[in-house]
């Protein structure tokens, strides 16, 4: 059952991820991206990492994508959304080359990769639970965790600076 | 601008106090008022079953009065039609024939008398204009809503007071 679910979720994830790229209408893209996040959260739940699943949804689907959608709605206002974007031949060629190269690199990287197995005896099914996660974060990975928070702080300051408009303009 | 008269009075506008700035007291006060009304007696008059009292001079549906002998008062002088700002009244006059004295009070009478209730604005000018006290706006009846436009041309069949009730109300 779990296995079937896994395959179903995976195929859905891939399909939706593909649709994100393919869709002509940016709003549709965003919506597919949201479904992608959902399916990824589904994977987390399969892995018994409920916290991650919930946070993934809250942060990505609940907040970030709302903002994406928000922006895109504004953009779409004036022009028709389904006119499609005209791309020049040059960019098509460069795109193909770049994509192909990425593909090659990924194949190369995955070729020698080994699937990490796990030991059923020593496996702790509670590893994805909140308590364990918290413990690990605040003991073993304290430094990276704090560094990440500094990074966030910097990002926040930057966002505030960017968001602050020049004087004389209406803020809302 | 300096005042034009000595009667001006500045409206009271003070700064918000801290409590007012914290939203809560005013909100609580408002909630208190609405809660008080929640338990208050309701003002509603349940219309089709009960009706609200109307004043005795309410200008409702027209009626063509009869006199104390049951004869129609209207003499088709046309003053009401002239006085009507909405031009809702039309009539044709006729001569009373012999033997109709109990039907019509004067020698001239209205053969047809029509009020277009859709045009009518119930201003009461016709009642005021009538020198014979024939047309009268009743206080206890209003023109009802209907489905068809044609139904609103009230002819004499619907305007003239029924014979039985000769006394006014």
């Amino acid at each position: 059952m779990t296995e079937n679910l896994f395959y179903f979720l995976s195929s859905l994830t891939l399909l939706c991820a593909l649709m994100v790229v393919i869709s002509k209408n940016p709003v549709h893209s965003v919506l597919f991206l949201i479904i992608t996040f959902f399916t990824i959260s589904g994977h987390y739940i399969l892995l018994n990492a409920q916290f991650l699943a919930a946070v993934n949804i809250i942060v990505y689907a609940g907040a970030i994508m709302v903002l994406f959608l928000f922006v895109i709605m504004f953009l779409n206002l004036g022009k028709g959304s389904d006119k499609g974007i005209k791309t020049s031949m040059l960019s098509k060629i460069t795109g193909t080359v770049a994509g192909g190269l990425l593909f090659v690199v990924m194949i190369a990287a995955l070729k020698d990769a080994e699937v990490a197995g796990y030991n059923p005896e020593s496996y702790n099914s509670q590893i994805g639970m909140v308590e364990n996660l918290g413990k690990v974060l605040f003991t073993e990975y304290l430094l990276p965790f704090e560094l990440a928070s500094v990074l966030f702080l910097v990002a926040m300051v930057g966002a505030v600076m960017l968001g602050k408009k020049e004087t004389g303009e209406q803020h809302f | 601008m300096e005042p034009l008269s000595n009667r001006s009075k500045k409206v009271q506008k003070r700064e918000m106090t801290f409590a007012e700035k914290a939203y809560l007291p005013a909100i609580a006060q408002g909630l208190g008022i609405t809660l008080k009304h929640f338990f208050k007696k309701k003002a509603t008059v349940q219309y089709p079953e009960q009706t609200r009292e109307r004043s005795e001079i309410w200008r409702g549906l027209h009626v063509l009065k009869r006199d104390e002998n049951g004869a129609e008062r209207c003499t088709a002088c046309g003053l009401c039609a002239v006085a009507c700002p909405a031009e809702a009244i039309t009539m044709t006059a006729g001569e009373r024939k012999a033997g109709e004295e109990n039907l019509y009070r004067e020698e001239k009478y209205a053969v047809t008398y029509e009020v277009n209730m859709l045009r009518c604005i119930f201003c009461g000018l016709c009642e005021e204009a009538c020198p014979k006290a024939a047309i009268f706006l009743q206080d206890d009846k209003v023109a009802p809503a209907r489905f068809e436009r044609d139904e609103f041309i009230y002819g004499k069949d619907r305007l003239v007071e029924p014979l039985k009730t000769t006394e006014t109300k």
Binding site: - | L4, G78, A81, V82, E87, T90, M91, N116
Partner: protein
Amino acid sequence: MELTNENVLGKIISKFGEENIWDAFNPDGIMTITTNRESIHELIKYLRDDEELQISFLTTMCGIHFPGQGDKEMCMMYQLHSLRHNYRIRIKVFMPASDPVMPTMTDLYATANWMEREAFDFYGFIFTGHPNLTRILNIEEMEYHPMLKQYPLEDQTREDKINTYFGR
């Protein structure tokens, strides 16, 4: 200075001359004077800006149509008010129907804008210099100026009325 009809009229006439201000009379306590369209703009500006008069409030303006009066067929009435002195004055300008052209007052009073549009809509007055002289109340497609006396009031498509009943 107490504003009375006499001293206001005197002031105006001394400023603009007898040839531009005439027919002063007082039908209802409000002095009414007549002027021509060349001096109307200057006159209203003077009344507004004069330190003593301060007649600086445009109460209303409206058009009037007097058919069959030669070159006095169209009339534009301005009524001004000095809030300071509580003094009202009425100014009329007559012109022929063939040429109802006047200067605009929109540069003096913001409120004149729509009043002039209304006068244009109703009577067809042309106010030179008006920023947007289009119909205001009636539909754009209307072909005539309905308040002119020769046009009927009634809706011409109404069928349920027999005119003979009303003697009108």
